[in-house]
């Protein structure tokens, strides 16, 4: 499947939760499958922290497919024969949708740190514009990790639109431990000598800081078992130490590689803003209690967690389910046995496919 990212330019200005306003917002998105006549077979996929609109298929000339290609396509969990699948880059991202690296129309230069602080609610608000553009009134929202937060936010913000929400390896609020990891990542960026208060777009970029932030991220996406499986204590070359501070262990080499690959594709300012939005997300605080947050939702929920995920632990998913059940909402919960840590939502596609397919089974999406 060859896919391409398209751009939707919004004419109206967006007012954010903080009161700040954004003009000339554009949304990068991809779609797969066909929207049916009734426009009721849409599934909106919501990407995680550093994802983009390119969820599935191959861009012309690319060797790697989209980030959820195992799950999206003909006969897959999100079946393009049945559903119209949409995925957009989030507000504040750096892959086509307006973010800190976009040009501020008022100044003619990149926003940098003058980009307003936004929340998950704002992110969803912008996605809603894209959905309105397609004329879609009913949809299913689905996402893992931060994408799961958006799936929840959608069901809460637009209850009459969302008939199904699939929330994978996610939470209604991060733990202090998870916020701490994000804080260290931001500190690494902010203290990079090249950061220059966010104005680095025409100079050396804060690559070291961003790479370190990514390394920390990757540690949290794995777990002890997964790391042992992948690297154990193996040395990078030979089977002996170098007796230097260069890369010795395979795990060091992995982190260095992940860090380097990341700086080539991601903007440090976006990393700051997005992690902040994730840290701020707290449904219980916003609505008084988690139970209250779900009072008006109409969607049927599917919540999935993974046994070895310590970043978004199963207990937080169960908490979500309990709050929904207390409201007598339709919710199903599945805890998948996996040694892959938080990354499991991108890797354990066979089990997820079975579960998601059966969940979508009776919702009748088709092209008829």
């Amino acid at each position: 499947m060859i896919t391409e990212t398209k751009i939707l330019k919004l004419n109206e200005k967006i007012v954010l939760q903080s009161g700040a306003e954004l003009e000339n917002v554009q949304i990068a998105y991809e779609t797969y499958g066909k929207l049916n006549k009734n426009k009721d077979n849409a599934i909106l996929l919501l990407h995680a922290l550093t994802g983009d609109a390119h969820a599935a298929g191959y861009h012309k000339g690319d060797k790697k497919p989209g980030w959820w290609d195992d799950m999206v396509g003909k006969g897959k969990a999100f079946d393009t024969d049945k559903y119209f699948i949409i995925c957009s880059n989030m507000l504040g991202g750096c892959s086509g949708t307006t973010g800190p690296n976009s040009i501020n129309p008022k100044t003619g230069v990149e926003y940098g740190l003058s980009f307003p602080i936004f929340t998950i609610e704002d992110v969803v608000k912008v996605q809603k514009k894209l959905i309105d553009y397609f004329g879609i009134k009913k949809l299913c929202t689905a996402g893992g990790s931060m994408g799961g937060m958006q799936a929840l936010e959608w069901a809460i913000s637009y209850p009459e639109m969302v008939n199904r929400a699939i929330v994978i390896a996610s939470t209604s609020r991060l733990s202090a431990q998870s916020i701490a990891f994000n804080a260290v990542g931001r500190n690494a960026i902010l203290s990079d000598a090249n950061f220059n208060n966010g104005n680095y777009y025409h100079a050396q970029k804060p690559e070291k800081g961003l790479a370190i932030a990514r390394m920390i991220g990757h540690i949290t996406y794995l777990c002890e078992e997964a790391m042992h499986e992948k690297f154990a204590r193996r040395f990078q070359d030979n089977d002996s130490p170098h007796f230097t501070f260069d890369i010795d262990f395979e795990v060091e080499s992995y982190l260095a590689h992940q860090g380097q690959a990341f700086v080539d594709r991601f903007d440090a300012n976006s990393y700051l803003y997005i992690t902040k939005a994730v840290d701020y997300f707290d449904l219980a605080k916003k609505f008084g209690s988690l139970e209250n947050a779900f009072k008006n939702v109409l969607a049927k929920f599917l919540v999935i967690s993974f046994t070895s995920d310590w970043l978004f632990p199963s207990e937080q998913s169960k908490e979500l389910c309990r709050a929904l059940m207390k409201n007598k909402k339709d919710v199903s919960y599945c805890e998948i046995q996996s040694p892959c840590g938080h990354d499991a939502f991108l890797l354990e596609f066979e089990t997820q496919t079975k579960i998601i397919k059966s969940f979508l089974n009776d919702c009748g999406g088709n092209n008829g």
Partner: protein
């Protein structure tokens, strides 16, 4: 005893009895809901039912039926379910599989206004005779396992349950014996109890 009862058919008999006894619009929680057959029957009657099961393959089967299910271990209790939040909590054919049957029943009574508990009666005459004459752990249609691979770790008789209920202030609202042997002999009818003749039982209980 009608020989033709297969295990699944026997289970379905329980399902219909329980479904018939629950009124429309009731809120029901089914513990150990399996593949969701009972949940589906309840849902078809307009009952708002959800289930809990430990097995992922069962969860998938329930999802396929469009049911609301929660993957979890009922031995961990019903934490997060508020007091009396369900009209009925059901434990069908599962009591003998739990690690802490007393805890599970108390949790059911906390969260449910009424509870259904069904189990194979180990006091059934065939089981008694099996042990008596063969000297081996009894096996039957509804207890088909070997002693070493059985998931049934807390087998009990009807009398055991009645004693347990008395001790724990549990009110027995109804006792339904299913798969009961047909007895013509009046002497037996008079002097031998359900505990002897019923292969399986369903109790409807509440907290006194």
């Amino acid at each position: 005893m009608d020989k033709h009862y297969t295990e699944s058919k026997g289970l379905h008999l329980n399902y219909s009895i329980i479904t018939d006894m629950i009124e429309k619009d009731a809120q029901v929680l089914d513990l150990g809901c399996g593949d969701g057959t009972l949940l589906k029957m309840l849902k078809n009657k307009g009952i708002c039912a959800r289930g809990i099961d430990i097995s992922q393959s069962n969860i998938v089967k329930c999802l396929e039926k469009g049911l609301s299910v929660f993957q979890g271990d009922i031995d961990e209790g019903l934490m997060g379910y508020s007091d009396k939040s369900y009209d009925y909590v059901i434990l069908n054919q599962t009591l003998q599989l739990t690690e802490k049957p007393d805890y599970v029943i108390n949790e059911m009574l906390r969260t449910g206004k009424k509870i259904f508990v069904s189990f194979p009666n180990f006091g059934y005459w065939r089981i008694r005779f099996y042990l008596f004459f063969k000297g081996k752990m009894p096996k039957s249609n509804i207890l088909p396992f070997e002693w070493y691979d059985t998931p049934n770790i807390h087998l009990l008789t009807i009398r055991d349950f009645l004693e347990f209920a008395k001790k724990n202030n549990i009110k027995i609202e109804k006792k339904i014996c299913t798969r009961k042997a047909k007895i013509r002999n009046k002497f037996f009818q008079k002097y031998l109890s359900d505990n002897f003749f019923a292969e399986e039982v369903i109790f409807l209980c509440s907290r006194e």
